[in-house]
Structure formats: structure tokens, C-alpha cells
């Protein structure tokens, strides 16, 4: 089992949609995948047709004293989703406190699930940093858009992870210039693969589907298959 996490350099870079798309692509390539929503915003499930009103999830279950494993959804054979659940802001703070008290919680859960999945994918939030403590063994990717805000934030809080540019528009002079600078500055840390802006990504969420299911032949769906293939190569030590 391999763990993969995606975290935006800032909010609003399309992290959840990207994670849903990569998870779907890995499953298309024959992998057994579990997607875990670590974000109190609880939107990952919407990419897989969960109801907006659905309140259950692992964090809700923990606070209610229930078994967290019982709140996963089997979307397809070998493709499962574990939502965060609906928590108000006080409850989110309580959960952060519990995670701070038990930093081994998610590494231990990964071990217990390892036999059932080839990949566990984590959608990590911006705030409440305890929610991003999933263990050191994960392949950690920071997601950014080619804009100056991401450039500034990256320099202020560089976590030294792999960098992936999302929603890239090659027609933009500024974005092309930033990519040029980043290739020079970050070298191989910046994935050679860039995910282009594609309206299909936004439409896919409006249809409550991951983009590979909604628009299989779109540019972005093909790029996510490439990204999933890169992940497989990483896990097999081929790169």
C-alpha cells in the first residue's frame, strides 16, 4: 500500500477535484484505491455523487463515539471513499485537539487498511494543521496555480515537497513566465507534468462526478491518467 497526499499551497487551487480525478484514474489503471477526506469542508464526496445533505464521515463518527470504518462508501469494486462528515466549527476544533493528542492515529489506520488497498489518497486541508498529520511515508504533493500569490506563499512556507501546477493556461504570459522561473528554481521538485485549465473539471463537479468519468476524453482527464501513471512509477521506484 502506498499513501499519497495532495495539499494546496493556498486554498482554492482545485485540490479536491484533482484528488478525486487522480483517485479515479488510479482505479482505471487497475489499482485498489481509498480516498480519504481530511478537510472539514467535506466536499470530496460530492465528486462521487454523495448527497449534499449527507452528514456522516470518519470525524463525525469519532465525535459521536461510533466506528469510523463503518462510514466508508464503496463506489465501485476496489474504489472506496471515506468522507470527513459534517462538523460545526467548535467540533472541528475538538477534532483538531484529538488529532493533536494522537498523532499516530492516521499512520496506524493506514497500516490496518494496507492489506485492502494499493493506494490511500488524502485530501489535506489548508487550516487546522493537525488534520494533515497522516504520517511521514506518504508521497506528498503540493498543488499550486501559476500565480504570484502561490509564488509568495511557496517561498514563505516551503515544505520541500513535490510541486504540481494545476489549471495552467499556456496562453497567459504571466503563467508561462512563472513556470519558467519555477523550473529554474525548483528543478526536479516541480513535476514535468502540468495539469491544464479545462472547463470539464468544473463541469464534472457540477455533475457530481470525477472528471475521468464525466469527460473521459477531455485534456484534463488524459493528464490525470498520466499523473496516475507517474504515481505508479514512483511507487515502483522506476523514477
Amino acid at each position: 500500500m502506498r499513501a499519497l497526499s495532495l495539499k494546496g499551497v493556498r486554498g482554492g487551487v482545485g485540490n479536491s477535484s484533482l484528488l478525486a480525478g487522480v483517485g479515479y484514474a488510479l482505479h482505471r489503471l487497475g489499482e485498489r484505491v481509498l480516498l480519504v477526506d481530511m478537510c472539514p469542508e467535506n466536499v470530496l464526496g460530492l465528486h462521487f455523487n454523495l448527497a449534499v445533505e449527507e452528514r456522516c464521515g470518519w470525524a463525525r463518527a469519532m465525535l459521536d463515539g461510533q466506528n469510523w470504518q463503518g462510514h466508508a462508501w464503496e463506489l465501485d469494486s476496489g474504489l472506496c471513499l471515506l468522507p470527513y462528515g459534517c462538523l460545526n466549527s467548535d467540533e472541528q476544533e475538538q477534532m483538531a485537539h484529538r488529532l493533536r493528542q494522537s498523532p499516530e492515529l492516521w499512520p496506524r489506520r493506514q497500516q490496518s487498511l494496507g492489506g485492502y488497498f494499493d493506494w490511500i489518497l488524502f485530501d489535506l486541508p489548508q487550516r487546522l494543521p493537525e488534520h494533515a498529520e497522516i504520517g511521514a511515508g506518504a508521497l506528498q504533493i503540493q498543488v499550486l496555480e501559476a500565480d504570484v500569490a502561490c509564488q509568495v506563499l511557496l517561498q514563505r512556507h516551503d515544505a520541500n515537497n513535490i510541486l504540481l501546477v494545476n489549471r495552467f493556461d499556456p496562453g497567459s504570459q504571466l503563467q508561462s513566465d512563472l513556470l519558467l522561473l519555477w523550473r529554474k528554481r525548483y528543478g526536479t521538485r516541480l513535476l514535468p507534468l502540468t495539469v491544464h485549465y479545462d472547463e470539464a473539471m468544473r463541469e464534472a463537479l457540477a455533475h457530481k462526478q470525477p472528471v475521468g468519468s464525466y469527460a473521459e476524453n477531455s485534456l484534463v482527464a488524459r493528464e490525470l491518467i498520466s499523473l496516475a501513471t507517474w504515481c505508479l512509477a514512483q511507487s515502483r521506484g522506476n523514477l
Partner: protein
Amino acid sequence: MVALPSAVKVNEKALSRAAAVDDIARLKEEMKLAEFTYIDVTAQRELKNALRRWPLLAEIEQAMPLLEPQVIA
């Protein structure tokens, strides 16, 4: 059934191609320029233009230099 070319032949081809494309290494060897450092002038020029276009990027570059000083100037 088809007969594949022998492994030795394939390797020879690959080697000769690799040697042919590494012009810069061959030139350094030929001219005895062991200390010669290759600079991609076009890429440097593009980076310089990029910094001229966007003042905030230039300011960030000044704070955390990435390029050779003469490129930023």
C-alpha cells in the same frame, strides 16, 4: 517468428547515437576546456525578460536570488 538483431548490434547503435548527440562534451574535450561551464543563453534571456515584465517577481528574485547577478541587472 522473426529474428531480432543481436544485442551487441543494438548496443553499438545506442552508444554511437549517444556519443553523437553530446556535442558540448565532445567540444570541451576537443578544445581542452575542462573548466568551461555551459550556459543556456536563450533560457537566461527569457528569465531576464520575465523579471522585467513583472515588478513583484523581480522583487522576490532580489530577495531570494536564483539567477546570476548580471542576468537580473
